[in-house]
């Protein structure tokens, strides 16, 4: 027997997404997903809004694409502008941009694991059995008890109601992870404070500009950043990574769940010099082999998106013409492809590319040190648990590196390079948002933006089918998934959330 399984809306992500699947009942009563559609449900038209504007407006406007990863947009825009203007950031400018991005990575990864993903694993009601003395957990317990005793219409909202399913059984583990969940609220906000030390405010930095940053480094600023970084580093190392390992221990089958095409794309991120050096390298992995990335091989398909523009073109030449009533379309996302392949982007792609790149052997060593003893292979990075693990690992690396970047700041040097907008020019900016490869393509005519196109991480991951009918990455990752209760498909939510979807970004 076949039936439809859907999660509409799929919440605890950024933005508006639904998934629709067709599933077949199996002999044991469970359902196996045979095909899936990802539906991006919101379109604002940023690329149209940007047309005819001052190019420097772009790093402010495009940050508003996403309130979770505004810095990645701002930075991609700055890089596209820097290329079009023919400038490079000053050394301080490069370091400050790195430090701002690093802080927002930590914010985003902590938010994702605890506040978006963890409620698929952790049983909140286990706190009712808590007998310990932790004041936060006692407070949460009292809150849940009280709302139940008062017969509140919405007990323990918004942590309830939820899908019922195979939550963690152990009260001890549930309460431990709930304690981390509570602590993570403060840690996430602390990471935003650390970001704002140089970014002026978060979300949506005003200090980030092409050529660097308006906020100069001072002893006071460096101290403000470093003290917060030390606290966050302790949390990431002693709580976040161990919690990911604990969750993995409870769900070992999720190393095999949600693999998808396992073709990986990373633009690379964190400039280590002004010659193109990157902390996490750029590259493409197709069929397990590392290739050099060539941005001319990206094409955007719109056959199944609500757009009427020509399909299959390079982003620098693409348009964005909405067609909300188009037949055969089912999503506001376009379908980007690399040399025709649906690609996974995000933490696992960054880690996999770094793992295979001989220039970054330190990544291979670090990853092998974690997955080797568990009997896992690099391919397991492309899985629900692999994505959570990759995030936690890179959070440690980024925090460690940020501490070094602070030392490299020069208190006597300018924080930004002056920029002059040419009458015409072209540029593109490639970097990595916390959730994957982000690219902005800009062309300038008569000093104004003539064309602006963004290809954003979740555009890759949650894309609809392409012109050839090949499903997107998450659509492929859902195919084959077994769901116990088709009305409460908690397993599907786990797969989709492991990609950390950002739907505002993906459509923009």
């Amino acid at each position: 027997m076949s039936r439809t399984i859907e999660i509409s809306p799929l919440t605890r992500i950024e933005g508006h997404l639904s998934i629709h699947t067709e599933a077949k009942q199996q002999a044991d009563g469970t359902y196996r997903i045979e095909s899936a559609e990802c539906v991006g449900e919101m379109f604002r038209g940023f690329e149209t809004i940007l047309h005819g504007r001052d190019p420097m407006d772009a790093q402010q406007i495009t940050q508003r694409i996403c309130g979770v990863c505004p810095i990645a947009h701002g930075l991609a825009s700055c890089k596209a502008q820097e290329m079009a203007y023919g400038i490079r950031p000053t050394k301080n400018g490069r370091l400050l941009q790195n430090l701002i991005l690093a802080a927002n990575y930590l914010q985003s990864h902590i938010l994702h694991f605890y506040h978006l993903a963890a409620l698929d694993f952790v049983d909140v009601t286990a706190v009712l059995k808590y007998q310990g003395s932790d004041p936060t957990l006692k407070q949460v317990k009292a809150w849940v008890e009280d709302s139940l005793a008062r017969e509140d219409m919405f007990p323990a909202a918004p942590l309830l109601p939820r899908f019922e399913g195979d939550y963690i059984q152990s009260t001890e583990i549930n309460c431990h992870l709930l304690g981390s969940y509570a602590k993570a609220f403060d840690m996430r906000a602390l990471a935003h404070e650390m970001c704002a030390v140089f970014a002026a405010k978060m979300p949506h930095s005003t200090s980030l500009i092409p050529g660097g940053c308006t906020q100069a480094p001072t002893v006071e600023r460096v101290l403000a950043y470093r003290t917060r970084l030390r606290e966050l580093y302790g949390f990431i190392k002693n709580t976040y990574l161990p919690d990911v390992v604990t969750a993995a221990g409870a769900y070992p089958h999720l190393w095999e769940s949600g693999r998808g095409p396992a073709n990986m794309l990373s633009y690379g991120v964190f400039d280590t010099d002004d010659q193109g050096g990157l902390l996490l390298p750029r590259g493409v992995v197709i069929d397990g082999k590392l290739e050099t990335f060539d941005q001319s091989l990206i094409a955007e398909h719109v056959r199944h998106g609500w757009y009427s523009a020509d399909s299959g073109g390079h982003p620098s030449k693409s348009g964005t013409t909405p067609a909300p009533d188009k037949a055969d379309a089912y999503s506001w996302l376009k379908a980007p492809r690399y040399r025709g392949h649906a690609m996974e982007v995000g933490p696992s792609a960054r880690v996999m590319v770094g793992y295979l790149d001989p220039q970054t052997k330190w990544i291979k060593d670090a990853v092998d040190g974690v997955i080797g003893p568990a009997g896992l292979q690099p391919i397991h990075l492309a899985s629900v648990l692999g994505r959570h693990l990759s995030r936690a690992l890179e959070a440690i690396w980024i925090a460690e590196k940020a501490n070094e970047w602070l030392d490299e700041l020069d208190f006597n040097e300018k924080p930004a390079q002056k920029c002059v907008i040419p009458a015409s020019g072209q540029g593109y900016g490639l970097t990595e948002a916390p959730r994957g490869a982000i690219g902005h393509w800009l062309s300038i005519r008569n000093h104004l933006i003539d064309n602006y196109q963004c290809v954003v991480p979740t555009t890759w991951n949650c894309s609809p089918r392409d012109d050839q009918g090949v499903p997107g990455t998450v659509e492929q990752a859902l195919t084959g998934l077994v769901v116990a209760d088709p009305d409460q498909a908690i397993e599907a939510g786990r797969v989709v959330r492991s990609f950390d979807p950002c739907l505002s970004c993906s459509v923009h």
Partner: protein
């Protein structure tokens, strides 16, 4: 732990009132209101329109109270698409129950695509169909952030969706906004303004607002420029000349502080660690109805290659046209 004492309330209320710029008699009022809130009486239904989720993230940056305290001790957040557990049919039913309860205060984040309803879908249908009955029944409606307050970036010139603010959407559907709708702009909304407004609504009711903008005067009554720490530079005509200059008034670079009404200079952002002008970044006017609206009114001015002579421009731009 479960029940907060009166002393706890007074302490917390003092912090909130401080954020609201109120003196201690105000704090007493807040304390009373917070007891009401804790009794589960103030239910918040958070709905996202065309948004970036930045206002939700900003809510999580709240200091007084911190986010976990806010969720467990102050409000009943019956639905929130980014942090709530409910998904799929559970989410749809939760919103229906909130509507049936009738006493939830909806907080709307994001603009509404009035000109292209299918530009935002919820559960397969235009979001407006979910939003409209909520706005019809709600005792108060709170617009969080500039998109829901004024349209924001979504409604900028050239936008293809016909994006509108909550006020415009309500007026379009003939819903009353007087003493009902209240707007907490800035991009994102400042958590202290939003939570202070919610506290006021649940204690003494609808606050004094700007008649046209419906922004609470207690948070949006003073221009950023008037309280700017670089105001003396402005008076002495000491102006920063290039982005990245650390000294001088930023007006000639495009700072919109004089046209912007916030408490940024006093409370700053993110735990008070920084704000735009302190970071030598010109104010982009993110709490203004004009924010990002016009192509010919760019954020930055006084540069080579700039050919605008737009409103508020300093006239230092290039000469090309």
């Amino acid at each position: 732990m479960g029940t907060l004492t009166r002393r706890d309330f007074l302490k917390i209320a003092g912090a909130l009132a401080g954020a609201a710029g109120l003196s201690s008699p105000g704090a007493q009022v807040f304390a009373k209101g917070l007891e009401n809130i804790y009794g589960g009486k103030t239910r918040i239904l958070w709905l996202e329109g065309m948004s970036c989720t930045g206002c939700s993230v900003s809510l999580l940056n709240s200091e007084n109270p911190k986010p976990l305290e806010l969720l467990t001790q102050y409000i009943s957040l019956v639905f929130h698409g980014a942090v709530g557990a409910a998904q799929g049919q559970t989410a749809v039913e939760t919103i229906e129950r909130a509507l049936a309860a009738g006493d939830c205060i909806p907080v709307i984040e994001g603009a509404i695509p009035l000109g292209m309803p299918r530009a935002q879908l919820f559960h397969g249908k235009p979001f407006a169909e979910t939003l409209l009955p909520v706005l019809e029944k709600a005792p108060f409606v709170v617009a969080a952030g500039t998109c829901s307050s004024f349209g924001g970036v979504c409604s900028a010139e050239g936008n293809p969706t016909g994006a509108v603010s909550v006020k415009q959407f309500m007026e379009h559907h003939g819903l009353p906004t007087h003493k009902r709708l209240i707007c907490c702009p800035s991009c994102p909304t400042h958590p202290a303004s939003l939570i202070g407004t919610l506290a006021h609504l649940s204690t003494v009711g609808y606050p004094e607002v700007d008649r046209e903008l419906l922004t609470p005067v207690m948070f949006y009554g003073t221009s950023t420029h008037d309280n700017c720490p670089r105001f003396h530079d402005y008076n002495k005509h000491i102006f920063a000349q290039e982005l990245g200059d650390q000294k001088g008034c930023l007006f000639e670079l495009g700072c919109l502080g004089p046209l912007t009404y916030t408490k940024c200079p006093e409370r700053q952002w993110n735990g008070g660690v920084n704000w735009c002008v302190r970071a030598s970044a010109p104010c982009v006017g993110c709490s203004s109805p004009e924010f990002a609206q016009r192509r010919d009114f760019p954020f930055y001015r006084n540069r080579e290659g700039l050919q605008f002579a737009g409103k508020g421009g300093s006239g230092h731009g290039g000469d090309e046209s």
